[in-house]
């Protein structure tokens, strides 16, 4: 009878285990979900020989989990420095809402590593960080600016950032185009915000949202290379 009771208890334990690992309750793991986010968004700086401590491996990340959660939720990291959904940028490094939720849930659930290392993605390859070049015809914006002649805007580059600045373009027909909402921009991680699609601004457009002494460079699109005449190659 004693063995029967033990067997019954074991059976209940097995069922409880099954419930805890119901498909929809399968935990988020480092091996499967979280490493992909870190490889995509963090390790270009956070790696051995990078500019900051390594977040390449589970032992690197796990002890810093709470600090990582706070940095991610407060938008301090990655140091993108702008509010999502206000302007659209091809070099956007901010975490998506889904990525933030995955990291938060993972840390709330005690950072499971996962038991299948084959789920880990391949290690990323690192290309040299391209130097930031400012075109000579960049326009400094430190107050309201009226566009005198049409320009094609390719990006914005904060020089002296004023946190919270909402930079917009007001077209002659009154339409207000959101360009950039600075939030947590850190001069230590200076970078331009490159528009996903160049934006044609007609003469008479007003660009506003920066108050001196803060300033932002407006980066015009580089002119397309001239087609070479036949026979010059």
């Amino acid at each position: 009878m004693r063995r029967a009771i033990i067997a019954a208890a074991l059976a209940l334990a097995v069922c409880a285990h099954l419930r805890a690992h119901d498909v929809s309750k399968t935990p988020i793991t480092w091996n499967r979900e979280i490493s992909r986010i870190f490889f995509d968004r963090c390790v270009s700086c956070h790696r051995p020989d990078g500019t900051s401590f390594s977040l390449m491996t589970y032992p690197d990340v796990q002890p810093r989990a709470v600090a990582i959660r706070d940095a991610v939720l407060s938008r301090r990291m990655p140091p993108w420095g702008a509010v999502k959904g206000f302007g659209d940028f091809r070099n956007d490094q901010a975490l998506t809402a889904e990525q933030i939720e995955l990291i938060t849930d993972w840390i709330q659930d005690d950072t499971p590593k996962g038991n299948n290392p084959r789920m880990l993605p391949p290690l990323p390859k690192f290309a040299p960080t391209p130097a930031i070049s400012v075109p000579p015809d960049a326009i400094r914006l430190s107050d309201t600016l009226v566009v005198k002649s049409p320009i094609v805007l390719d990006g914005l580059f904060p020089q002296q950032a004023a946190d919270g600045s909402q930079i917009v373009a007001v077209r002659p027909d009154g339409k207000v185009v959101p360009l950039l909402w600075l939030y947590g921009y850190d001069d230590r991680f200076r970078h331009p915000f490159l528009l996903r699609r160049p934006l044609a601004l007609e003469a008479g457009t007003i660009i506003r949202g920066v108050k001196a002494p803060a300033s932002v460079l407006l980066l015009p699109q580089s002119p397309a290379p001239s087609p070479q005449p036949p026979g010059t190659r």
Binding site: R3, I28, E98
Partner: protein
């Protein structure tokens, strides 16, 4: 060196003597499995709440053309190769918001137009998966947090979702799009819209947990812990009254949108479980701000929308 195998000498060594134990265990397992919802036989149950879960949904990708994706098996429409299941990358699609007229005017109909492009080649996306009974959910919130609209843009033949709204004032509006491109993961993307004119006033919010009433329901709120802190789970329990006629709205027992008072955070959630008249949402508020939280519940076919204001403090270090 392998350990010597031990012979079984216990009372369950004989099949006949083991029978009562096996029977007891089998009965308990059967009851427990039924309790857990593992019913092995019977008619298939339709899924009424097709919430995407990255942990169990595979995405099928063409090995040659990684931009060709599907949520089910099939062949690449470009090269004909069989799609292979892989781990879905939580990649972000592009959402472009345009309006007609180009410059919206307050108190006049403005049509919001949502254009979705893929992140790989920036091509228009025209195939979407239904999520909570709709192809697209849009939430529109004014800067002062007094205007709230949850609607469902309609997909046109040109692949553009359109959604007519009447925006009541000038200033900034934040628009949250919730949609699910086929072959990807669900997207929650925010856009910003301005109605020309005087800028809206930023809201000044303070704690408001008072019981609210709408069309045919009363909703009250309690939170656990009592004081929400940034970065930690807060269980928000909404008690709905009366309970009779309470029903799912768009496949869920409730819908929540939480917006921070600076409109930077927009959080869209559904309840994790329901227990009688209590509907519970687990929320992680990202930053120590005050959040306005709208919840929608349905009773007898009527949607009730109420809101509460939740101050969130910094978590103790």
């Amino acid at each position: 060196m392998a350990a010597p195998r031990r012979e079984s000498t216990g009372s369950v060594g004989s099949p006949l003597r083991a029978f009562p134990v096996v029977a007891v265990v089998a009965s308990i397992v059967a009851v427990a499995m039924h309790y857990n919802g593992f019913v092995p036989a019977g008619p298939p149950q339709p899924r009424v709440d097709p919430v995407f879960d990255i942990r169990k949904n595979a995405v099928y990708v063409c090995p040659m053309d990684p931009d060709i994706r599907s949520n089910g098996p099939g062949k690449c429409r470009r090269c004909g190769m069989a799609l292979v299941a892989g781990i879905p990358d939580p990649v972000e699609f592009h959402l472009d918001l345009t309006t007609t007229p180009s410059a919206p005017a307050a108190n006049q109909t403005t049509t919001l137009e949502f254009h979705v492009h893929d992140p790989w080649k920036d091509r228009p996306v025209q195939k979407f998966v239904i999520i909570h009974e709709k192809l697209f959910h849009a939430f529109v919130v004014s800067q002062d947090l007094r205007y709230f609209n949850h609607g469902h843009p309609v997909l046109g033949a040109d692949g553009v979702f359109t959604f007519p709204v009447v925006l009541p004032k000038s200033g900034m509006f934040r628009v949250l799009g919730d949609f699910y491109p086929d072959g990807a993961t669900p997207q929650l993307l925010t856009e910003t819209l301005f109605v020309p004119g005087a800028p809206g006033e930023p809201p000044v919010l303070s704690r408001d947990y008072s019981t609210k009433s709408d069309a045919n329901m009363t909703v009250s709120l309690t939170t656990l812990p009592e004081q929400a802190t940034a970065g930690n789970r807060t269980r928000m329990t909404f008690h709905v009254d009366p309970l009779d006629g309470f029903e799912k709205y768009l496949g869920a027992w409730g819908h929540m949108l939480a917006a921070s008072d600076d409109l930077i955070d927009m959080i869209h959630l559904h309840p994790l479980r329901e227990d009688g008249a209590d509907v519970q949402f687990d929320v992680v508020f990202p930053r120590p701000r005050t959040y306005r939280v709208w919840v929608q519940f349905q009773r007898n076919g009527v949607v009730n929308t109420v809101h509460f204001d939740v101050p969130v403090e910094e978590a103790p270090k």
